[in-house]
Every structure is written in structure tokens, then in C-alpha cells.
Amino acid sequence: MRAELEREYVEYVKARLPVLRRVAYQLTGDAHRGDDVVQQAITRLYLKWKRAREADNLDAYAHTVLVRVFLDEKRLSWSRVRLVGAVPERPSPASTAVEDRAVLRAALAQVPPRQRAVLVLRFLADRSVDEVAGILGCTTGTVKSQTSHGLASMRRLLGNGAFVSTGTGE
């Protein structure tokens, strides 16, 4: 890659790193694993940079790379995953915001990977249904159904207490 393109790439990655790290953290539920995913994603982005920089929506392109690394990682490591059937521990009524986040994070981590990706991209990375469909390479209908299933999974995991607010996912 030419030096000027490399500079451009470095500037972009530096600027977007906080967002990419946060999305990866939300996808993986673990900051260190999230950073591993980002590390792989930005390496792939380097290899695709000439095409990526020409994309209509570079951020969406970067998110696509990130999510695919995450999903690939989940797929390749599937045999090593020990499926946990237990619902995350419910917080006490006096739980703090920190504890709420921990419970939410634990619940989100148990949502199937593609549904989790949809929830994270839509509700935490503020991507539209169309953009999420582009990132995941599926139809908008699939995004909507995955959203619905993902939210249902969250509800099931978190129970029906006052802790859970309402939402349709649409």
C-alpha cells in the first residue's frame, strides 16, 4: 500500500477506534476479547483499504468487517464453547447501575451471535435496519425477525420483573 494510503488508513482507524472497541466489547461481552476482535478487524481492513475507502459508507464497511470477524470467531471456536444454560444472576432490588449493566451484559452475551450482532448494531451503534442488513449480508426482513428473536431472548433471560422495560424491536 502506498504511504499516503497507509496514512489515511491510520488516521481513520485512530479516529474510529473508540467506537470499534465499544461495539466489539458489546458483541463479545469481554473487553479483552473485544480488543482481539478489533485487532483482527483492523488488519483485515488494511487489506481491503483500497476498496473500503471508496465505499459510500466507510463506517458501515468497517462495522461489516468487525462483525464478520466476530461471527467467524464464534463459528470457529464453537467446538470450544461450553454452552451455559443458566440465566444470569438477577440483581437485588437495590442493585446499582453498575450491577444492572453487568446483568445486561451477561444476558446479551447469551443471545445467539447473529441476533446479538443485530441488537448491538441497531440499538447501541445506532445503525438503521437497512444498514444492519448490509453489514450482515441479509434482508431487512431477516434483520427485523432477528431483532424480534434477540429481544425475546433478552426478555426470557432477564425475566419479567420491573427491571425489564418494554420494546417491540421494530
Binding site: 485512530k14 472497541r21 485487532q39 488488519t43 449493566r101 451484559r105 441497531r122 426478555r155
Partner: protein, 377 residues
């Protein structure tokens, strides 16, 4: 629910462990590898068999392999063990051979380096009947040997690697077992994928070998197969590896660093692929050797099958040139349909190219090619 998820928006993150410089280094290395592969592996279906770029073959391509292939019960064969292992290997010579392989292993690969010697055997690609003995239903077997003081690293996509470091500190997933050739041995379950088993043994003081058997399905125990292969190993063979080409004399800084040879006992005249890499002992920052030469049967004078279209000619042969101007530079030259072969030559940087009088074109003109495996030398 969406509002509930909002609580995760500002979840505090620890300091970043992401390294942009490492991404640049890894990215540049991948670009280099792709470029080099585009020259020396263009249109080469054989390379895909072993799942990596560094594949090769076994002894005397074109003749039946010097191994017994049987489904009979394992019968250890006594072989002398060396009292001392080499400090390094000669990449142009075969250090060891195996005397037995499971039935049906027709694709044979040799990969050498100063710090490693490996033989890998695969069944032919495509659907096949399962052997009557499930323990021999394997996707590949591999022997890896390293010189004194090197560790055998976990497999990386089937490509063997050695690393010089204290060997005895690296036994995370191993259990002691009966000796091999009277030397201490361990089972290694930490192999590349599930259904695999590795048998490691100290073939000479502070020098280790390993046989990997990668099963096709869960269930069968491949330990007997691994042990039988290990017991059939002969060390210190020290035979030249026959190659389908001879490269003219090179500057002293370009010595053979690695040989890869793939042969097929099923299709000996068409199913081979041979390459040799040169350098002064140190890989480039891109992880490559400075000069690589490869040849394999391909009579077509045009692109396709992964080969780019020719953009020049060399002595009347269709050819393709690559000239990379960024980073360290480097050149590639692929010549199509020379005596029924594709020949690829590639340098990793401009410094290496300048060391070659007349460049890659002149290097090609000085090569002797032996398309018939019976003529290899």
C-alpha cells in the same frame, strides 16, 4: 428494551490493547504473501490440498513411495536412533523418511528448512470410501522433526513451524506414554483440530519429533496409527531431494532456505509442485524469503485457474511480470507453458532483485527444467 440496552452505551472500557502498528505490520505481511503466492502459486490447484502455501512432496516423485501402506495391525519396526541431532538441517536434503503410512495416502508433501523437516501425507481430494478400519480413516498424517534445541509449535493451518526455545517448558496438553525407539514420548492432544492426536518423542537428546494423525470423524482412536508411523521413522537419511529444475549459481547471500515438494502417487506426472526459497538465513520483515522459485505442470499459455493473463513474452513464451513499487518493492515473473510447466520466480524486495544479474528474466533463462519426474535431480 432498546432503552434498557442504552445502559451499555457508556459501559467503561479498560485501556485499549489494540495495536495499530501491529495491524500495519500484519497487513503488509499478508499483502506480500498474497503477491508472492500470485506468482509462484498461480493456477496451481495442487497447493490447495494441504491447506497452506508451503506444501511439497516425498521422495522420488513419479516412483512409488518408499513407504509401506497397509491396514494391518501396527508392528513396530526397529530403527536406529541418532545419538545426536543436527544443530540445523540442510533444506535441500531429506533428513528422515517414514516406512509406513495408512492406506490411501497418495498425496505426499515434504517441507524443509534449516530449522524443520516435515513429511505430510493426504488422501486424494474428493469423495472416497471409508477404510474398513475406522482408526485409519484420517484426513492427513504428518511427521515433523526439528533440530536440537527447537520446539515444535502448534500447527498453523497445516503449515509446520519450529521455534528455537526451551523445549521442556511447552507441554501443556501432554501425557507420558511408552517410549518410541527407546526414547521418552508423550501424547499431545493439543493439535490443530478435534479428532487429532500427536505423538512426540525425543529422537535424540534435546531434539524432538512429532507424528500428527488428524482423524476425519470423532470416535476412532488414532494412537496406534500414530505410534506405528513413529516407530517406522528412519533418521539421518541425508539424501538429496530431487527437484524438477536446476537454478543457476546465485550470489552467496542467496542460499537455499526451504524446499517444498508435493507429489502424487496417483498422478505422478501431473500431480506435482516444487519450490525452493533462498536467503541468507533471515526472513524479511514480511516473513518471506528474499527469492522463491516454483514450477509445476501446466501447459496452458494463457491465464485462468487463478493465473493472471500474460502481459509479456520471454524467449517466445507467454509470461506475466509483476513490478511492485511500494514498500520494499520486489518483482515477480511467471512463464507459461515452458516444456509443459508453469515457472514462477519472485523477489521480496528490490535489493534482492538487484543482486540478480539480468534480473528474474536472466535467472529463468539459466534454469534447467526436467518435466518428467524420472529425470529429477
Amino acid at each position: 428494551m432498546e432503552r434498557l440496552l442504552d445502559a451499555l452505551r457508556d459501559d467503561p472500557l479498560p485501556p485499549s490493547a489494540v495495536d495499530i502498528e501491529r495491524a500495519l505490520t500484519d497487513g503488509r505481511r499478508s499483502v506480500r504473501r498474497r503477491r508472492m503466492a500470485s506468482v509462484v502459486a498461480a493456477g496451481c490447484a495442487v497447493l490447495a490440498v494441504a491447506g497452506g502455501v508451503s506444501v511439497a512432496g516425498l521422495p522420488n516423485a513419479g516412483t512409488p513411495p518408499a513407504v509401506e501402506q497397509s491396514t494391518a495391525a501396527p508392528t513396530p519396526t526397529a530403527t536406529p536412533t541418532p545419538s545426536r541431532a543436527p544443530a540445523s538441517f540442510d533444506p535441500t536434503r531429506r533428513y528422515a523418511t517414514v516406512g509406513w503410512l495408512p492406506a490411501g495416502m497418495t498425496q505426499l508433501h515434504t517441507l524443509t528448512g534449516t530449522d524443520q523437516f516435515s513429511l505430510r501425507a493426504d488422501p486424494p481430494a474428493g469423495p472416497k470410501d471409508a477404510p474398513s478400519d475406522p482408526a485409519q480413516d484420517v484426513s492427513y498424517v504428518m511427521l515433523r522433526i526439528v533440530p536440537t534445541g527447537y520446539d515444535i509449535r502448534p500447527l498453523d493451518h497445516g503449515v509446520p513451524f519450529a521455534r528455537k526455545e526451551a523445549v521442556t517448558t511447552k507441554w501443556p496438553a501432554e501425557t507420558e506414554t511408552e517410549p518410541v525407539h527407546g526414547r521418552r514420548a508423550r501424547w499431545n492432544t493439543n493439535v490443530a483440530a478435534a479428532n487429532g492426536i500427536g505423538l512426540r518423542w525425543e529422537y535424540a537428546p534435546d531434539a524432538w519429533a512429532e507424528v500428527l494423525v488428524q482423524g476425519r470423524a470423532a470416535g476412532p482412536d488414532h494412537r496406534a496409527t500414530a505410534r506405528r508411523i513413529a516407530e517406522s521413522v528412519r533418521y539421518g537419511v541425508d539424501e538429496p531431494i530431487p527437484l524438477p529444475f536446476r537454478v543457476p549459481p546465485l550470489p552467496g547471500t542467496l542460499r537455499p532456505m526451504s524446499v517444498s515438494l508435493h507429489t502424487s502417487t496417483a498422478t505422478p506426472r501431473a500431480g506435482w509442485n516444487a519450490g525452493i526459497s533462498y536467503g541468507d538465513g533471515k526472513r524479511s520483515a514480511n516473513g518471506e524469503w528474499p527469492l522463491a522459485v516454483r514450477a509445476f505442470p501446466r501447459s496452458s499459455q494463457t491465464g485462468g485457474g487463478g493465473a493472471g493473463e500474460p502481459n509479456t513474452t520471454i524467449d517466445g513464451h507467454a509470461a506475466r511480470r509483476w513490478d511492485w513499487t511500494d514498500a520494499d518493492g520486489g518483482e515477480g515473473l511467471g512463464i507459461y507453458g515452458v516444456k509443459g510447466l508453469y515457472v514462477g520466480l519472485v523477489t521480496d524486495d528490490d535489493t534482492t532483485t538487484r543482486q540478480l544479474p539480468g534480473g528474474l528474466g536472466q535467472l529463468f533463462r539459466g534454469m534447467e527444467l526436467y518435466p518428467d519426474p524420472r529425470d529429477w535431480r
